[in-house]
């Protein structure tokens, strides 16, 4: 190759390289903008609220006096609602995904179900709240309770759990299924001995992502009528009722009124006294921390479990 050709070639390569540089610089700029905004919000929230975070903040009920107000009823409420949500969404979601992916024949009926699941994931959460108000509160008379909230949020994250489980099942190579069938396994044995075990990391990730979404949901919880000011805890099983003197049943807490973290934050933010805004910032910090720890747990679990699954 003569030197003129080499020079022309180098010119073309240099141009291509300049594009590479430009695109990576642009990407970095946009990325840092996003991270910067997030970090600024988080740091502002931390600075405003950090002074309020102490043991009393977690053990006090909300109060008219901002310095004494705490998040006891709301973090307990969030925890209990999350428990009901997981109890609803996890078995239903996994069972639905296994049916769709492993048992159902591919026909128009299953295609319609699939499209609906995808669409459900995009329905605004307030719609779930309205559905729950009509169905759980008015029709089934479950009240404005922890049970209603858990069922509502369970429905809300069901598509997330189903989709994650299906992806995890699809990632299992067909030759693993064939190997199990060739040993004489029945379909349920293939599912329970193999597919469920190998898809656990993916399912867990989906469940925790769904739960992280549910813990921050406000609109559907307000719609079903959660209270904004709650100065008592749901009755623990066996706890004596002060008015009646009767011990609470095992499941009485399910039907108790409640509040959750996002509602408490909303309530404090809407007050004029700026000291309540500090409380809101502190509660937000706790909520963000809860969400981030759930995500961290998901990442760690996925890493731990995937180490043992190779094809």
């Amino acid at each position: 190759m003569d030197s003129a050709k080499t020079a022309a070639l180098r010119g073309i390569i240099a141009k291509a390289r300049r594009y590479d540089m430009f695109v990576s610089a642009l990407g970095l700029l946009f990325l840092s903008f996003g991270i910067f905004v997030l970090a600024a919000l988080f740091i502002d929230m931390a600075i405003t609220g950090f002074g309020r975070i102490n043991a009393d903040f977690f053990t006090n009920f909300p109060s008219r006096r901002p310095a004494e107000a705490g998040i006891l009823s709301s973090w307990v409420g969030s925890l209990l609602v999350m428990f009901v949500t997981a109890s609803v969404a996890v078995p239903l979601g996994i069972a639905g995904a296994i049916y769709l992916e492993e048992y159902a024949r591919k026909n128009t009926f299953t295609a319609i179900i699939e499209i609906n699941i995808t669409n459900l994931a995009g329905v605004p959460s307030i719609i779930y709240g309205l559905l729950a108000l009509g169905l759980f509160v008015y029709t089934f008379k479950l009240g404005q309770s922890i049970l209603t909230a858990g069922l509502t949020l369970g429905l809300l994250i069901l598509p997330i759990v189903i989709t994650a489980t299906r992806e995890a099942l699809r990632a299992i190579p067909q030759h693993i299924r064939e190997a199990a069938y060739a040993c004489g396994a029945s379909q349920w044995q293939v599912v329970s001995d193999h597919l469920l075990k190998y898809s656990t990391p993916g399912i867990l990730t989906g469940v925790i992502i769904g739960m992280s979404r549910a813990i921050g949901e406000t609109a559907p919880i307000i719609t079903i009528g959660a209270l904004t000011f709650i100065a008592f805890l749901p009755p623990a099983p066996g706890q004596l009722n002060i008015e009646t003197g009767q011990p609470a049943g095992l499941f009485d807490w399910l039907f108790s009124p409640f509040t959750v973290m996002p509602i408490q934050i909303f309530n404090w933010t809407s007050r004029p006294d700026p000291r309540f805004h500090e409380n809101a910032a502190a509660a937000s910090f706790v909520l963000v921390f809860m969400t981030l720890s759930m995500n961290a747990l998901a990442i760690w679990l996925r890493y731990r479990l995937r180490k043992n699954i190779k094809w």
């Binding site: 190579p173 030759h175 190997a179 199990a180 069938y181 040993c183 004489g184 190779k310």
Partner: protein
Amino acid sequence: MPSIITLPQNPPPMKAEAKNLSFFYGDFKALKGVNMPVYENKVTALIGPSGCGKSTLLRCFNRMHDLYPGHRYDGAINLMPDGVDILHKDVDPIEVRMRISMVFQKPNPFPKSIFENVAYGLKVRGEKNRSVLDDKVEAALKGAALWNEAKDRLNELAVNLSGGQQQRLCIARALATEPEIILFDEPTSALDPIATGSIEELIGEIKHKVSVLIVTHNMQQAARVSDYTAYMYLGEMMEYGETNDIFMKPKRKETEDYITGRFG
């Protein structure tokens, strides 16, 4: 084209027999009226160019096709000594797979321990007695020439074994349940020559206990390991006979062309 089937003069006992077997994927006829015997404690090799239907025929023997929609069997495979037609719709494919096990093209151990892999077939047969499991797993691993390498790491993950060891583990898994026939679907195509040699040696060993049906792309392999060879082409059984005859004096021009490498 009529198949040329040369049965041996003093045939050993029959283990299974495909009778006028046709198989359809949807509308596509992948097997066209195949007839073939499988003799007891002998190795039968299926050879032929890609797409000739040899794997399809093999997968009829354990009803693997039943896992996928759009399959249809026509004809019969009679399994001796009871003569049950394993393709009949009243015969549960699980029953067939409990009598006939399979080793696949790519080693496919479960992401479980070595012990659990070998014991899995026993587990689905309801075996729970730990000492029985221990004995049978040991016997199967010895039968697959893997015991010496695996005995100290039975609880380690099977996927950490080398490719050749993984395939021997899959053979142990297939042997553990004492099947009547083992199907091999190109068992060495993903392995290096040394691992291939040890698998071929193993097939020569296990035929004393079980009948073997093997699909292979490798003509030398068929010549080395098998007692009988079937040459297939476009879903038809072209020629069947003793391996020596098929390789030394094939009756058909097409068989000769394929074996000598002029075609395929």
